[in-house]
């Protein structure tokens, strides 16, 4: 007995009698990997912003900070994020209330529409809006001018307002989803007891319902704020033609204008510090708000909440809300598919002008075909690698629990918390030879960026499933005579397999539509799907860009349907 009494839990693996210690190995690899993926790129940005030729120097940083274009970009970033957050929150709130608490019909249809923005990359949406409402020759603008004899185009999407509008349409579901789930989980008697106390329906909403869902609202609103601050696609598609820049697009412009020269990258690094500062403030607020926690509003027997009767307002509200949804969600989709078929950009969208040549070009153009292949390769590889690495880190954090597991957790979410543009700058600085390895212009540098960016997705998915597998299951295997390694392979891994598969798709899907980091990292032969759409459009080949975009949407939709099927048939543990 005395022999074993002093053994620590971490020594359990050693009882295996194996030469190497699997737990220790996994812990070590996790720390090293996260150090490489998360710490080094960020450190490189800071180093290059503040050091020049090994000397500490604030010269670059202050010159970048005081440049009036950069300041304007920062101001734009904040303005856009502010309005997107305010309007997106209000809109999400309105729809959440409508679907969660009113007796409006067609709830199923509306819910289905909310899923479309998830499958539709925002930059492709921005492309569609640009096609419709561009100040010069947007389809709908031209049509409106003709029909109503207007001297000028009535809308100009290439403006701050336009960028804000398009971002709202992609980000408002954040608040909607949070609030609608809070409303659904909320104990209806909380509202009923206020009715009994004499409060009218309006008072109940103001005094009870709203305060109780406030935590959900602020969580959603902060998600919008952070996403909008870091967002690249929409402002770059809509803003460049009118010289409207945000911090992420300014970083891109600096680096691509200097065509990869070190000076441009250094300026980008300095600007990245600015963007990190802005996003960092938002992240700190988010952490504060989320940790202050929600109220405990789930209790008691589940009862259907009393739905508020809209009475006379029912059908007008239904028409307005469905129409708005259809316009902001469905119209861009239809536009992309129609323009993809038009013979030449600018021709009216009527069947006479339709052709499938744009689609056949996809399969004859080597660059385009390559981009699809690249994206598939990158997404599958990143998905698989992240899946295994994520499981390993999740296992280390949840089961081995080494000293510093908090750091491990923090490091794994860090690369996703920083804006994609900044991550790309960090990856360039790290992997283009300055540390001895040069991956620049190869597909591997994009893969490294994807791994860093998406590792947290698979880690969280694996953590969630690991927490459902009680450690007693593994211990039971040990009691039956299995070694630590055997119990891990025969018991734990099969049980978390559904979570691993979900984790793969959680990475595969966003990686397929990725633009923000790849656009800074691609080389002549390593364009991705997103980059190719983006550059076709930049080159003015809008119908071809649309055709490729529609192919991307179809691929994403199919994969999304697959993942829903898989997660549905997932067995509980």
């Amino acid at each position: 007995m005395t022999l074993y009494r002093n053994r620590k839990r971490s020594d359990l693996a050693a009882i295996d009698g194996k030469k190497f210690n699997l737990d220790l190995l996994m812990t070590g690899i996790s720390f090293i990997l996260l150090f490489i993926f998360a710490v080094i790129p960020i450190a490189m940005i800071a180093y290059n912003a503040f050091f020049y030729k090994g000397q500490f120097s604030l010269k670059l940083f202050t010159s970048v900070m005081t440049n009036k274009h950069n300041l304007a970009a920062m101001w734009n970033t904040i303005k856009i994020a502010f309005w997107v957050t305010i309007c997106g929150t209000l809109m999400g709130l309105f729809y959440a209330w409508l679907l969660g608490r009113s007796d409006i019909p067609c709830k199923g249809l509306m819910r289905a529409l909310f899923h479309i923005p998830y499958m539709f990359p925002p930059f492709i949406g921005a492309m569609a809006w640009d096609i419709l409402f561009s100040g010069r020759g947007g389809y709908l603008n031209t049509w409106l001018m003709k029909t109503f004899n207007l001297p000028r185009a009535p809308f100009n999407i290439n403006s701050l307002g336009g960028i804000i509008f398009v971002e709202i349409s992609y980000f408002f579901p954040f608040v909607f989803m949070q609030v609608v789930s809070a409303l659904e989980r909320m104990d209806p008697t909380l509202e009923e007891s206020a009715r009994i106390a004499g409060a009218s329906q309006g008072t109940v909403i103001r005094k009870i319902t709203l305060p109780l869902v406030t935590p959900a609202i602020s969580a959603g609103a902060l998600l919008i704020l952070i996403s909008s601050l870091a967002h690249f696609g929409v402002p770059s598609i809509l803003g460049f033609s009118k010289n409207i820049y945000t911090l992420p697009t300014m970083i891109y412009a600096l680096i691509s204008r200097s065509s990869g020269s070190f000076e441009g990258i250094r300026q980008g690094a300095a600007l990245s510090i600015m963007l990190i500062a802005v996003v960092g403030i938002a992240l700190i607020i988010q952490k504060k708000v989320l940790s202050s926690g929600g109220y405990d509003i789930i209790k008691g027997k589940s009862m259907r909440p009393t739905l508020i009767k809209l009475r006379g307002a029912k059908y007008p509200l239904l028409i307005i809300s469905t129409l708005t949804l259809v316009i902001i969600v469905l119209m861009p989709l239809v536009t992309i598919f129609l323009v993809a078929m038009v013979r030449a950009y600018g021709l009216p969208l009527i069947p006479k002008n339709f052709t499938f040549k744009n689609y056949s070009k996809i399969f004859t153009s080597k660059a385009t075909l390559d981009s699809i292949k690249n994206s598939l390769f990158l997404s599958v590889t990143a998905g698989l690698l992240c899946m295994f690495l994520g499981v390993m880190i999740a296992y280390v954090v949840n089961r081995i629990k080494p000293k510093g597991k908090g750091i491990l957790e923090l490091l794994s979410v860090l690369p996703y918390s920083i804006p994609g543009t900044v991550l790309a700058v960090g990856v360039i600085l790290t992997w283009s030879g300055s540390l001895g390895i040069n991956l620049y212009n190869t597909i591997w540098i994009i893969l490294v960026a994807y791994l860093a960016r998406y590792l947290s997705f698979s880690m969280e998915s694996a953590s969630a499933s690991l927490q459902q597998v009680h450690s007693s299951l593994e211990e039971a295997a040990r009691a039956c005579g299995a070694s630590h390694t055997e119990s891990l392979i025969d018991i734990t891994l099969p049980l978390i397999r559904p979570g691993m598969i979900a984790g793969f798709f959680l990475i595969f899907l966003p990686a397929m539509r990725e633009l923000t980091t790849s656009v800074l990292l691609y080389g002549p032969y390593t364009r991705t799907l997103g980059v190719q759409v983006y550059s076709l459009r930049e080159a003015g080949m809008i119908p071809q860009a649309s055709a490729l975009a529609s192919v991307a949407i179809i691929i994403i939709t199919i994969c999304n349907a697959l993942i829903t099927e898989i997660t549905k048939s997932r067995k509980g543990v």
């Binding site: 009923e192 007891s193 206020a194 009994i196 106390a197 004499g198 009218s200 008691g300 027997k301």
Partner: protein, 368 residues
């Protein structure tokens, strides 16, 4: 005693996509008098909670009408529906439903603020309500800092603060632990005596209902089965369902032949009990395990099959015909396993042999 809550032919049907139309409340007629404590008792799905929600105004009825304090509040015929906030009721919910974003004082003051009462009076009334529910000193605490029992007291204080004439209690004690339940039961009774409000109390716990009620309604599958005082319900249940729902029951299948009662499976030895008029050949007699006399000299002769010594009683299993009867006695009546004994049934109830219709309906409901 004035009529306080009156239900006339109240019916509520729900239409669901999967199950079709379900009658949750079927033609309820009942009157609750002023100052009375009235319980709705029944298994889940019997319609008791729906009836309470109809009275509160959270559901609109499919047919019939409801009168509160002499005022019509729901009527199908007159197409009248008064929303809950205008019914002037007090209500306490099972899950407490205290608002987690308000301190105790604001929770209790809420109904008064809605009424637009001035600050000074609010202070006074809230103080009093909190004192009556032994919550003084917790004014500025958040509900989440308090225990379950205290949270339910907040809900009580909030309900009594406006001095309502009718108080609706929707299983208010079932989220509390057994010990606390008893204290709270007593406190509710005390408050009722002090403020003299009418209580409608929904529960599925028979002892809770019997302890607190002046009268109670037992319902099952959307129908009122029996309305009476707890004593009458216990002693004279109208059918086997009520009998078995209130307290422990022992049922014996009997056969009546030549004016004598025989336990099924033993036609040799008759039972010495009077036969009521209008009986079929096969009947069921019902009694309570503690109402069966166990002696050594007179009655139905049998023997002890099994003896179980329990904390407050001794439980015997005694064969009668082809059935095993459960008999509970005080510890001082001692028999050993296998010993010969005699049993007497005291004032048993008589029921038809089988309630076929009821059983099929129950089965149907269980299936859906």
């Amino acid at each position: 005693m004035a009529d306080q809550v009156v239900l006339r032919h109240v019916t509520k049907q729900f239409t669901t996509r999967t199950l079709g139309t379900i009658t949750a409340v079927n033609d309820f007629n009942l009157t609750v008098y002023e100052g009375e404590c009235f319980s709705f008792l029944g298994p889940s799905g019997c319609g008791k909670t729906t009836t309470l929600r109809l009275i509160a105004g959270f559901e609109d009825l499919t047919d019939g009408e409801i009168e509160l304090c002499g005022r019509l509040v729901s009527s199908k015929e007159k197409n009248l529906y008064v929303p809950p906030e205008e019914r002037g009721l007090g209500m306490v919910f099972q899950a407490f439903a205290v608002w987690p974003h308000m301190i105790v004082f604001d929770n209790v003051a809420f109904p008064l603020k809605i009424q637009g009462i001035n600050k000074h009076d609010i202070q006074k009334k809230v103080k009093e309500a909190l004192r009556n529910t032994s919550l003084d000193g917790f004014e500025s605490a958040y509900p989440s800092d308090l225990s379950g029992g205290q949270q339910q007291r907040i809900a009580l204080a909030r309900a009594i603060v406006t001095n309502p004439k009718v108080m609706l209690l929707d299983e208010p004690l079932s989220n509390l632990d057994p010990k606390l339940r008893e204290t709270m039961r007593f406190e509710i009774k005390e408050l009722q005596r002090k403020f003299n409000f009418t209580v409608i109390f929904v529960t599925h716990d028979q002892s809770e209902a019997m302890a607190i009620s002046d009268r109670m309604m037992v319902c099952d599958m959307g129908n009122i089965i029996q309305i009476d005082t707890p004593i009458n319900l216990y002693n004279r249940p109208v059918n086997r369902f009520v009998h078995s729902f209130l307290g422990e029951s022992t049922f014996i299948n009997v056969i009546i032949q030549d004016g004598k009662v025989y336990a099924k499976g033993n036609m040799e030895q008759a039972l010495d009990i009077p036969i009521p008029p209008d009986v079929d050949r096969e009947m069921v007699i019902a009694t309570r395990p503690n109402a069966i006399e166990l002696t050594r000299n007179r009655g139905y002769k049998t023997r002890i099959e099994k003896r179980t010594f329990l904390p407050d009683i001794t439980e015997y299993l005694v064969p009668m015909g082809d059935q095993l009867l459960k008999v509970q006695t005080p510890h001082r009546i001692k028999f050993t396993q296998g010993e010969e004994c005699y049993i007497n049934l005291v004032n048993p109830m008589w029921y038809p042999a089988e309630d076929k219709e009821l059983e099929t309906e129950r089965l149907r409901r269980q299936l859906i």
